[in-house]
Amino acid sequence: MHTRFLRGYRPRYQRTKKMSYAAAAFPAFVILSIQMVLLGSALLAATTDETGRWTLEHVSRVFADPLFTRGVLYNVIIPVTSVALEALVGVGMAFWFMSVRRRKMLWRTIAVVPFALPEIVYLLTMKLLFREHGYLNSLLVGSFGGSEVIHWLEPGSAVLTGTVILIDAWRVTPFVFLLVLAALEQLPESYAEAARVDGASRWLVMKRIQLPLILPVLGVALALRSIDAFRIFAAPLVLAGVEGLPVLSTVAYHYRTDMNDIAGGSVVALLLTAFLMCGTAAVIWSFGRWRRVS
């Protein structure tokens, strides 16, 4: 048996290991490459005209459309605000939840419920809630009387933007809450205990000890979630329609489905993809640098 350790056995084992790794990673590599190839195909559609020649006419047509420029604007405002809201509320809720002592399992299951709700169902329910003659206005009219309703979903109004941000954030906040909670629960009790023994208030403990400890672990997840937020599609579409509150995904969809303009749709979709990829690359790079520095 000890002959295994003689005469080039170790290098052979390393080679086998490397080959196994390569074999294990290969199918995933194929799948990921397929998506890049499809992306290339979309790029082709966006930059060629009917005869197959390379052209930028689709791009210039898209850039000249005011719907597109409005789409870019809203596609920046909504995700940024939404993620800020989710982060604040989610983190706050998680810290508060740490002090829940009884029936933790039940409350955690309730907290996970939004995972189960398909987005389309959630949005339709929200539409019924927020429409002009919907549940929320019924409640307001019933409680405060009068006949003036609040136009939560009026196109072009700041109220609409706020409502859509709120609805989108509302859906994702439970996830953030659970992540922060999981991270907090991983922390050893000893740090917080030691600080409390020294007389630090709960608030101080949270700010100076717990938050800095969970942030590295959470940082990447939250940063990725913020990039992901720029992909927003269903919420503005269902609640306001493409013209009411355009964002890049819905504009691309509108070009493809309503205007039968596949090239224009590809242009918008690819611009969004490029932005998302750059954002992700930036997050990974800065996280890598931060890790190396600290």
Binding site: T16, K18, S20, Y21, A24, A25, P27, A28, I31, L32, Q35, L38, L39, A42, A45, M93, W96, V100, T109, I110, A111, V113, F115, A116, L117, P118, I120, V121, L124, T125, L128, H133, Y135, S138, F175, V176, L178, L179, L181, A182, A183, V220, L224, R225, D228, F233, A234, S249, A252, S266, L270, L272, T273, L276, M277, G279, T280, A281, I284, G288
Partner: protein
């Protein structure tokens, strides 16, 4: 404290209770003004209508099959890859970075080229949903890869080395030692992948025309049909998801954070 818990319950259970209300009350209740929180009359009319108008059983079966099959395929493709990236220092950065970048591709960018590719392959509108399964595998593999990458980092490679001393090949060591050691997070990933496929809408709308899964059918109902029947269908979609999550919720959270899913 109790206020906070009440708010949590309201926020999380509120939408579901509205769906239930819509499903169990007749259509005329939903267009009254002002609307009432508790409907004046209840009826099974919507559920009945749903049952009669479409072969719901087939749709549910197809959705479940597509979800299971795509989850399994994502596992077969993504989990070994995540494991190998965890162990293989040279490819780690490129592999995980690549998976993250590909994850960010919005479905709308590649939906049309994908459909055009599926047609000559005979996978478009397939009765068993193979084209759709492929599409879901495309979206789910990065998630499976990232979750398993994070999961296997917590499994010490020494276990596999030790197994090797006893004559186990690396791949066998992976299958028999590493996977069982990481079964918690992997279970969570399974739940997430299944639910992502179960709720997925855009690809299902484009790829499956006659052999529909549930989400496009739901969309079709709400666009031009009966809101009540749509809510009944929504309930059918929600119930299994809640059941699964109830059992596996502690795994779901860690996995979703590892996979950057949210």
């Amino acid at each position: 404290m109790t206020v906070g818990l009440a708010v949590l319950a309201l926020v999380n259970l509120g939408p579901i209770s509205l769906v239930v209300r819509q499903a169990l009350s007749p259509a005329s209740e939903s267009v009254r003004w002002p609307l009432e929180a508790v409907p004046r009359s209840l009826s099974w009319q919507n559920v009945q209508e749903l049952w009669e108008t479409h072969d719901v059983a087939t749709r549910v079966t197809l959705s479940a099959w597509v979800g299971l099959a795509s989850m399994l395929c994502c596992f077969v493709v993504g989990v070994p890859a995540g494991w190998s990236l965890g162990r293989w220092r040279a490819a780690k950065a490129a592999g995980t970075g690549g998976a993250l970048l590909v994850r960010m591709i919005p479905p709308i960018a590649i939906a049309l080229p994908l459909t055009s590719t599926l047609i000559p392959a005979g996978l478009y509108n397939h009765p068993w949903g193979f084209g759709l399964i492929l599409a879901h595998v495309l979206t789910g593999t990065p998630i499976a890869l990232l979750v398993s990458f994070a999961a296997f980092r917590d499994v010490p490679p020494e276990l596999e080395e030790a197994a090797h001393v006893d004559g186990c090949s690396p791949l066998r060591a992976f299958a028999m030692i590493a996977v069982p050691a990481a079964r918690g997070p992997l279970a969570g990933a399974a739940v997430i992948l299944f639910l992502t496929s179960w709720d997925e809408f855009l690809y299902a709308l484009m790829i499956q025309l006659t052999n529909r899964t549930m989400p496009p059918l739901l969309y079709y109902y709400t666009e031009y049909g009966q809101l009540g029947a749509a809510s009944a269908m929504a309930l059918v979609m929600i119930l299994p998801a809640i059941a699964v999550i109830g059992f596996l919720q502690r795994f779901v959270v860690r996995s979703s954070y590892a996979g950057g899913v949210l």
